[in-house]
């Protein structure tokens, strides 16, 4: 079974802090994604990566950056967390049949 793990289920940070969310997949998938999930808005794509060291902006990249130094790991970085970044963050990886496999999510609260 494909496994996608995220470093934390719950995280509480203060405004202005630098926040790292990490995601690891164990199926050698080339494509990985970071989404933000908010009630009534569904999932919105923040960034995606189709290979090591490659990244592309999604629909809402402002205030975020990403890093992919190894194939299995895709990190989302909030350079200076703000209260409007309080949300559920979902990581996913994609197989060759275009199915996406999701991690359990990180619920981030910025106070």
């Amino acid at each position: 079974d494909v496994k996608v793990t995220q470093s934390s289920r719950y995280l509480v940070k203060r405004t202005g802090e630098k926040v790292f969310l990490e995601c690891v997949q164990d199926m050698d998938h080339e494509n990985m994604f970071w989404y933000r999930q908010d009630p009534g808005l569904g999932l919105r794509l923040i960034y995606f990566s189709y290979d090591v060291k490659m990244k592309e902006k999604g629909d809402i990249p402002e205030g975020y950056s990403v890093s992919r130094e190894k194939k299995e790991r895709f990190s989302l970085i909030l350079e200076s967390a703000s209260t409007n970044q309080t949300s559920m963050y979902l990581c996913a990886s994609r197989d060759s049949a275009r199915e996406q496999y999701f991690g359990p999510g990180t619920r981030l609260t910025v106070t």
């Binding site: 794509l45 995606f48 999510g105």
Partner: protein, 115 residues
């Protein structure tokens, strides 16, 4: 541009009954994939069913089936013999072959199952 519309924010079904969740997917691409994902409360998002647009036959997976009407841009999910474990948020998603496989998600439908 692609859009995914789920017009039912909430739905309710009696256990053992059948329920249909609606979705429309609009794209200029001729070849694309459609998915229904399920997110149970506080649990991981998982794939329920997928449909390739070029396939004439509607996909089925046990109690789950889709009704894909390409011309109408409609992609509904039917759940038969509903069970308590079907209670979840359901997201419709679509992605064109040309768009690097990135998916656009609908806003979700919250399904409640009454015992």
């Amino acid at each position: 541009a692609q859009t995914v519309t789920q017009s039912q924010p909430e739905m309710s079904v009696q256990e053992a009954e059948t329920v249909t969740l609606s979705c429309t997917y609009d794209t200029s691409e001729s070849d694309y994939y459609l998915f229904w994902y399920k997110q149970p409360p506080s649990r991981q998002m998982i794939l329920v069913i997928r449909q390739e647009a070029y396939k004439q036959q509607n996909a089925t997976e046990n109690r789950f089936s889709v009704n894909f009407q390409k011309a109408a841009k409609s992609f509904s999910l039917k759940i038969s013999d509903s069970q308590l474990g079907d209670a979840a948020m359901y997201f419709c998603a679509g992605g064109g072959i040309e768009s690097q496989g990135n998916l656009i998600f609908g806003k979700g439908t919250k399904l409640s199952v009454k015992p």
